[in-house]
Assembly symmetry: C2
Homo-oligomer: 334 residues x 2
C-alpha cells in the first residue's frame, strides 16, 4: 500500500491541487511566460529595504494569494511546507512567522518545489492534514551576493551560467474542487559526477535528474511516451542537453514532450545564457504556465522533476565537488 518500487510512493487518495499562484520579477515578466504569471513586480525590492526582505515578501504574497485562489482562509491552512536557497532558509522561516501556521522547513536547493509537493501530498494523502501549502522562491540579487559576488562588483558572467529567477510560487494541496491531482512522488538520491565548476549548475544537476527520471519510469512501469510533459527544473539549456544525452545512453529517448523550466522562462534576447535557475524558477513555471495548461486540458499527465545543486560557498572553497538531487512528482489532470 502506497509503495511503488524503490524510491516512489503512490498517493492512493489522489490529493488535489486546489490552488496555485506565481509572482515574478520584472525581467521574468518580460520573458516567454509573461502572459501566465499572476503578478509581476515593477522593481526588484517590492517596497522593502533589502532584497532578502523582498524574497520573503514574495513568498508571503504567493502563499496568501494561493490560499485565496483555493477558497481558503489562513486559519484553514493546516501546514506550510517551505524552503529556499538562503542560509538557514530565512525567507521561508520569516514568511511562516507572518502566518501563525504550522511550519515544516525543507532544504532541497532548487528541487524544493517538487520536494515540498511530495511531502505536502504525503500529509494530505493519509489524512493527517486537510490543506497544505507548498511554497518556495528565490531572488536574483540575494543569490548573487550570497553565492557569488556583490552586485556592485559588476563581474562578468560565464557562458555556462544561468540567471537566478526572481519569483515565488505556491501550490495548495487539499480536498476541494479541482481536476488536478498528485499521483505519486519519486524521491531522489544525492548524485555527484565530479563537477566542480560553480557556474555550471546544469552539468552538476543533470546526472541526478537522469537517475530520478529513470527510477520513476522503472518504479511506475511507464515510459517517457506515457507523459504529455516531462519537465525538469532548472537544468537550463546546457544541462538539458546533457540530460538528453545521459538518458539516451541509458536507452531512454526524450522527445518533444520534454522541457526544462530554466529553458522555458526567459527568451533568447534576455542574455541569461543557459536560462533560469533558483528555487523560484521551477516554482513559478509550474504554478503559472504548466498548471494553467493542465486546467485547460492541454496536458493531462505531467512528470515534474525539480533539480537542486547541493553546494555551499564553503563546500566549494574547501575543494568539494557539487552533488545534485532531483525529486519528481507525477501530476494528472482529468
Amino acid at each position: 500500500m502506497g509503495r511503488m518500487g524503490n524510491q516512489t510512493i503512490e498517493f492512493l487518495s489522489k490529493p488535489k491541487i486546489i490552488g496555485n499562484y506565481s509572482i515574478v520579477g520584472e525581467k521574468e515578466g518580460n520573458g516567454n511566460l509573461k502572459d501566465y504569471f499572476d503578478y509581476v513586480l515593477k522593481n526588484d525590492t517590492f517596497g522593502e529595504k533589502t532584497y532578502e526582505n523582498c524574497e520573503r515578501k514574495m513568498i508571503e504574497h504567493a502563499i496568501l494569494n494561493a490560499l485565496d485562489k483555493s477558497g481558503l482562509r489562513t486559519a484553514d491552512l493546516d501546514l506550510l511546507v517551505c524552503g529556499d536557497l538562503l542560509n538557514q532558509i530565512i525567507s521561508s522561516s520569516f514568511a511562516a512567522r507572518e502566518f501563525d501556521v504550522t511550519f515544516l522547513g525543507l532544504y532541497g536547493a532548487c528541487s524544493t518545489m517538487a520536494e515540498a509537493i511530495a511531502v505536502g501530498a504525503t500529509f494530505v494523502d493519509n489524512k493527517y492534514f486537510n490543506n497544505v501549502a507548498c511554497a518556495t522562491g528565490s531572488h536574483f540579487s540575494t543569490v548573487e551576493r550570497q553565492y557569488r559576488f556583490p552586485l556592485e562588483l559588476g563581474n562578468q558572467r560565464p557562458p555556462v551560467s544561468q540567471w537566478t529567477v526572481t519569483g515565488a510560487g505556491c501550490t495548495v494541496i487539499g480536498e476541494g474542487n479541482s481536476n488536478i491531482s498528485i499521483c505519486n512522488a519519486t524521491f531522489g538520491k544525492v548524485t555527484d559526477y565530479g563537477i566542480n565548476d560553480v557556474n555550471n549548475m546544469g552539468a552538476a544537476m543533470a546526472p541526478a535528474a537522469m537517475r530520478t527520471l529513470i527510477t520513476h519510469f522503472e518504479d511506475t512501469n511507464t515510459t517517457p511516451d506515457d507523459y504529455d510533459l516531462i519537465l525538469t527544473g532548472d537544468l537550463g539549456k546546457l544541462g538539458s542537453e546533457i540530460l538528453l544525452d545521459l538518458m539516451e545512453h541509458n536507452g531512454y529517448k526524450l522527445k518533444d514532450n520534454y522541457n526544462d523550466c530554466g529553458q522555458m522562462i526567459f527568451n533568447n534576447n534576455q542574455k541569461t545564457y543557459q536560462g533560469g535557475s533558483g528555487c523560484g524558477c521551477s516554482a513559478v513555471v509550474l504554478n503559472s504556465y504548466v498548471l494553467k495548461k493542465m486546467k485547460e486540458g492541454k496536458y493531462k499527465r505531467v512528470l515534474f522533476g525539480a533539480t537542486g545543486a547541493l553546494l555551499s560557498t564553503l563546500s566549494s572553497q574547501q575543494g568539494n565537488t557539487i552533488p545534485g538531487i532531483c525529486h519528481a512528482v507525477e501530476i494528472r489532470g482529468e
Copy 2:
C-alpha cells in the same frame, strides 16, 4: 484518521524505533552522560582535514552504526531524513552522497532531530517506506566560525550563551523487534517574542517550546503529569527557566519530569554557561541516555520537543529578531 487537534498527527500503526546511535566529541564525552554515548571522539577532527568534514563524518558514522544496530544493511534503508545547521545543510547532503540512499533534506535548526523523526514516522506509518533513518549533527567549531567568530580570535563568550555540541545522532524507524514506538507528532509554529540577542538562544526559543507543548497537551488531551519525561532540547538553563515561567503563566506546572537536553549534557565544571546547543545536542541526548532508559523501562512515555532558533548571520545583521520553532514527538515504551 491520523489527525489529533490542530497541529498534531497520530501514527496509528505505531512506527517503531528499531535502532539508534550517538557519537560525540571529547568534551561531551566528559559530561554528565559520558556513560551512555556509543562513541566518543579522541579529538575534534575525526581524522579529517576540516571541522566541516568531521561533522559530515560523524553524521555518516551515526547513520551507518544505527543501521547496524537495527540489523539493517544500507541497501535496506528506504529513506534518509536529515538536516544540520551549516549553510545549505552541506553536512547532511554530503553524508547522504556516501550512502546511495533516497534523501529528504530538512532545515529546522536545532529542532531537526524531532522534525526528522516526525517526518520519518509519517512515511513509515502509511507504509510508504519500511525503514527510514533520521539523523542530524553539529560541531562546535563549524558553528562558531559560521555564526559567530573565527576560533582564532579567542573571543569571550557571554554568560547567557550555550556551547554547541559536537556530535551526531541517528534514529532508525521501521518495523522490527522493538519495545519503543512513535505515537504522534506535534509540528510547531514559528514564534517570535522579539529577542534579538544572538547569544541568548534559550530566550529566543522558549516561547516556541511553550506553544508546542501546550498545543500538544491540548491536541492529545493530556497533562504534563501523564508523561514520565518531558524533554526540550536545547533551551539550556536560562531558556528552561523561562519556559517553566511561561508554562506556569499558562496554567501548566512542569515538575521533576521536565528536563532539557542542553541542561543535561554538560556538567557544571565544563564552563559551558547555559549548557549545550546545536542540532547534535538533542540528537545525542535522545539517542543515548533517553532511549537507553526507555529500553530499560525507566521511562515509558516521553515527550521530546526539540527547539530551533531560525536566524542567520544575515538576518541578524539586517536587524531582524530571532524566531524560534519547536517540533515534538511522543515516544512510548512498553
